[in-house]
């Protein structure tokens, strides 16, 4: 028991309350009225107990921490509508279809005869709208301003081309290859991490399908033991993809589920374990510690973690950088999966993540069906932003 921090906290709290109350009282005294406006708000939740676990366990009615299932329980889920038939899925195709292009914003720049103050404002605004962020935007535009001042660029079209090149260049050096199993001893483990609701489970489903198509054997480990029915969701994907599947009890220890998954994969000669984890906000220290443990335990047996993939929702704004930093620090993230890029969001936060943290984007998710996961191609990504 460490009392030190608790003391700091408690005293701080007492001080602030006392003062808060003092101030309020004084203010009220000043205004000559004691009444506070009534506010209707729900009471503060008094207890922190989690009602989920015992109930779920009781209902499951099965002992043991981890259950291994030959056939996952089937959920009569209605399938997603089939992908549009003809054209092959491309990043650029999906993004332009999604009107993710900044073309509209650039049209104004093109329409003017020269480069003026308004040009810079419009470029800045376009980049900010794409969630590129203030710092990266400033850096990009400062570079271009220099070249315009030196009269290296004089025409709006040339300026846009230079911007496109500059943006591509910033993403050009990273190694985006996935560490696929090389046939050595023991299963490879790919760990999937991220905040809540970014699409970790869906991404695993898609990757499983692709890896199986490429002739590798895959096992999914349902390390999200927290969210209700997360294991069922993964089980459905396992069935679709034809992957093996290991789950634990709801509320159980995620490390042990993933450990069991690795052991089972080793016993059966499965090459690749895709380990799901519960979504967690990167600010929750306990949960980030839990993730560190998951990462450690995954390598305790026969397996080794060859990829730790951070899934980031393309709609995420500047908070994405904080996510990448914290998850990167806790779990040695090897790559980013940028999900939901088929929407109207542009995913500009990847510039900051790559340039400031050096974590490469490896994959992008562009839809809900099993084939909608593509390797990240920076030139295409940038070109799609500029496409008319």
């Amino acid at each position: 028991m460490d009392l030190q921090w608790l003391f700091v906290v408690l005293i701080a709290v007492v001080v602030v309350f006392g003062i808060g109350v003092l101030v309020v009282n004084r203010r009220r005294a000043d205004h000559g009225g004691p009444t506070a406006p009534p506010r209707d708000r729900p009471a503060v939740p008094p207890d922190r107990s989690d009602p989920s676990a015992p109930e779920a366990e009781a209902e499951d009615g099965r002992a043991g921490d981890t259950l291994v299932e030959e056939r996952p329980p089937t959920e009569p889920a209605v399938e997603a509508p089939p992908a549009p038939p003809v054209e092959p899925v491309t990043l650029r195709g999906r993004m332009s279809k999604a009107r993710a292009s900044l073309a509209g914003a650039f049209a104004g720049v093109r329409s003017r005869s020269g480069i003026d103050a308004e040009t810079w404002d419009e470029l800045e605004e376009a980049l900010l709208r794409a969630d590129v962020g203030v710092r990266v935007t400033d850096a990009l535009l400062d570079e271009l301003r220099g070249r315009v001042e030196r009269a290296e660029i004089t025409e709006p079209d040339a300026l846009l081309d230079a911007l496109q090149t500059e943006m591509s260049t910033r993403l050009s050096t990273a190694d985006r290859s996935l560490a696929v199993p090389d046939g050595s001893e023991g299963p490879d483990v790919w760990l999937f991490v991220g905040v809540n609701g970014v699409g970790k489970t869906t991404t695993i489903g898609k990757i499983a399908q692709q890896q199986i198509t490429e002739g590798r054997s895959v096992l999914m480990a349902a390390g999200d033991t927290f969210r209700a029915a997360a294991a069922e969701q993964l089980a459905t994907w396992a069935e679709r993809a034809g992957a093996e599947f290991v789950r634990g009890t709801e509320g159980g220890d995620p490390s042990s589920v993933i450990f069991d998954g690795v052991e089972r994969a080793a016993a059966r000669g499965v090459q690749l374990v895709l380990a799901d984890t519960a979504g967690r906000l990167h600010t929750k220290t306990n949960l980030m510690d839990e993730l560190r443990k998951v990462r450690r335990v995954a390598e305790k047996g026969a397996g080794r973690v060859t990829e730790t993939l951070l899934v980031i929702d393309a709609t995420t704004g500047q908070n994405g950088l904080a996510q990448a930093r914290e998850f990167g620090e806790a779990t040695q993230v090897t790559g980013v999966v940028l999900s939901k890029l088929d929407g109207s969001a542009k995913g500009g936060i990847v510039f900051a993540i790559e340039t400031e943290l050096g974590i490469p984007v490896k994959l992008v998710g562009v839809g809900e069906t099993i084939d909608d996961l593509l390797p990240f191609d920076p030139d295409e990504f940038v070109a799609a932003l500029f496409a008319a």
């Binding site: 009392l3 030190q4 608790l6 700091v8 906290v9 408690l10 005293i11 701080a12 007492v14 001080v15 309350f17 006392g18 003062i19 808060g20 003092l22 309020v24 009282n25 203010r27 506010r39 209707d40 708000r41 729900p42 939740p45 989690d50 959920e75 889920a77 209605v78 997603a80 605004e125 900010l128 969630d131 962020g133 203030v134 809540n196 609701g197 699409g199 869906t202 209700a228 997360a230 069922e232 969701q233 994907w237 509320g251 990167h282 600010t283 220290t285 949960l287 839990e290 709609t315 995420t316 704004g317 908070n319 950088l321 996510q323 930093r325 939901k340 929407g343 109207s344 969001a345 500009g348």
Partner: protein, 479 residues
């Protein structure tokens, strides 16, 4: 790296604090910082432009007033503007005269519709209503199963039919009437605003149940796209309010500001944690205060008032400053504190709290050994801990089921804390004594004018104690 919006504004205000008056050049500099801060907070570019223009006018006006501290003026201008945008009142639910009152949940994938449907159901239960949940998300595998599990946890029935989402919603409505449930909450599948087919589907669902309230669930971490998403959903469904999810992280929640400004509908609820009761009605004035770095001071004070006897707290604070704070007082304050809710959430609302402490998940159970130790002391020992000698220590340790080391640590820490608070109290008295009538509290009472208690000394202490990481202990999952 990016500072949080509150830290940034805090920095600006601190710089201005020394100045007597703001020049226009000062204002320009401040506006640039505020613009960057708002953009970093993911406030939409267009909204930022209009906000900064308006704030600028106010701030320039403020330079003409010699009577007011410029720092306070700027904070006030920003605060007024943000509060104005975030919108007057809290959304008040008017129940349908012919039940059930129907609520439709919509949003992007992963925004938190299912979880918040359950949280909302739980909230309605607390209001004495009898909700029925309908799982019309047949898209995502196991979404209905998730809703059923959550429904069991809060003891609310869930209806779903695997055939068709529109049909499910309609039948759910009939089911609610049949069962006499007076609130119906329809969870729908996540969809992209540009997916015409899916938007048509949700329009049909809406048509089938004619909702009294349609809530758009928006992730607090959303970037610039929040506006486009909100506009399209609003055009399709006539949104009545927004539920802001995942507000318990470090996202600055600029999306809330943008969405409110663009569709003109209030943020109705905010989800502030993973537990099903971490859900509350949204108070716009408080959100602005939070963005400004004054913590959720109002909420905190309100909760404090509920739990604390105001006099008692005032006394305790005064005692603390003067160094007369005994272990008895400490114990009493601790009890009061516990009444206010989970420690972790209370800390999160405190302004100027070091990040390490905000992030730390503190279990109320951690307080138990401390309580036990203090309770095992005699009255004299509590008032004057210095009398505690070896044999008393052993007795206290035995009595409280702890070790002599634990007792030692507590006594020692308490002593240090006393010393520090005394110092803090005296330092404050010298600096700004004329402001507060209670002398030593002056420095800390700076929050009257929009400043905040300076907890930097506490932070210093925290760092000195090596408190940079989590407070040791379990990695136990959320319980």
């Amino acid at each position: 790296m990016f500072d949080t919006l509150s830290n940034r504004l805090d920095g600006i205000v601190k710089r201005l604090r020394g100045k007597g008056r703001l020049t226009e050049a000062d204002v320009d500099e401040v506006m640039k910082e505020i613009r960057t801060a708002l953009l970093d907070a993911d406030v939409n570019v267009t909204v930022v432009r209009s906000v900064t223009n308006r704030i600028r006018e106010h701030a320039i006006g403020a330079t003409k007033s010699a009577a007011l501290d410029p720092g306070q003026q700027v904070v006030k201008a920003v605060n007024d503007e943000l509060t104005r945008i975030l919108g007057g009142e809290t959304l008040k639910i008017n129940y349908a005269s012919r039940p059930p009152t129907v609520v439709l949940m919509a949003g992007l994938q992963g925004s938190g519709k299912t979880t918040n449907a359950a949280k909302l159901a739980s909230w309605f239960k607390q209001q004495g209503r009898q909700p029925l949940l309908v799982g019309a998300d047949l898209q995502r595998p196991a979404a209905v199963e998730q809703l059923r599990t959550l429904g069991r946890q809060i003891d609310v029935p869930v209806y779903s039919d695997p055939e068709d989402p529109v049909l499910t919603a309609y039948q759910g409505l009939q089911e609610a009437k049949r069962l006499g449930r007076d609130v119906l909450i329809v969870d729908t599948a996540g969809r992209l605003s540009i997916d015409a087919e899916m938007m048509e589907q949700v329009r049909l669902i809406s048509g089938a149940v004619s909702p009294d309230y349609t809530f758009l669930v928006i992730d607090a971490m959303t970037g610039q796209d929040a506006v486009q998403t909100a506009e399209v959903f609003h055009a399709t469904l006539q949104i009545d309010g927004v539920i802001l999810s995942k507000l318990d992280g470090d996202a600055r929640g600029g999306a809330a500001l943008s969405v409110k400004e663009v569709i003109g509908r209030p943020i109705a609820f905010a989800s502030t944690g993973e537990k099903l009761d971490a859900f509350e009605q949204f108070h716009p004035d408080r959100m602005a205060g939070r963005i400004l770095g004054m913590g959720d001071m109002l909420t905190l004070i309100e909760q404090a008032e509920k739990a604390f006897e105001a006099d008692q707290a005032e006394q305790a604070a005064a005692k603390l400053m003067e160094g007369d704070f005994t272990l008895d007082d400490f114990l009493e304050q601790m009890q009061q504190l516990k009444k206010m809710g989970p420690l972790g959430s209370v800390l999160g609302m405190m302004p100027g709290m070091p990040k390490e402490l905000k992030g730390a998940e503190i279990d109320d159970d951690d307080l138990k050994p401390i309580e036990a130790i203090i309770r095992s002391m005699t009255r004299e020992e509590r008032a004057r801990p210095q009398v505690i000698n070896g044999s008393r220590r052993t007795r206290i340790a035995n009595g409280s089921g702890t070790t002599v080391g634990d007792v030692n640590r507590l006594v020692k820490q308490f002593g240090e804390m006393q010393k520090m608070m005394k110092k803090l109290g005296m330092a404050g008295g010298g600096k700004k004594g004329k402001k507060g009538k209670t002398g030593g509290l002056g420095a800390l009472a700076g929050l009257t004018g929009g400043g905040m208690p300076d907890l930097s000394e506490l932070q210093g202490l925290a760092e000195q104690k090596g408190l940079t990481g989590p407070p040791g202990g379990g990695t136990d999952r959320r319980r």
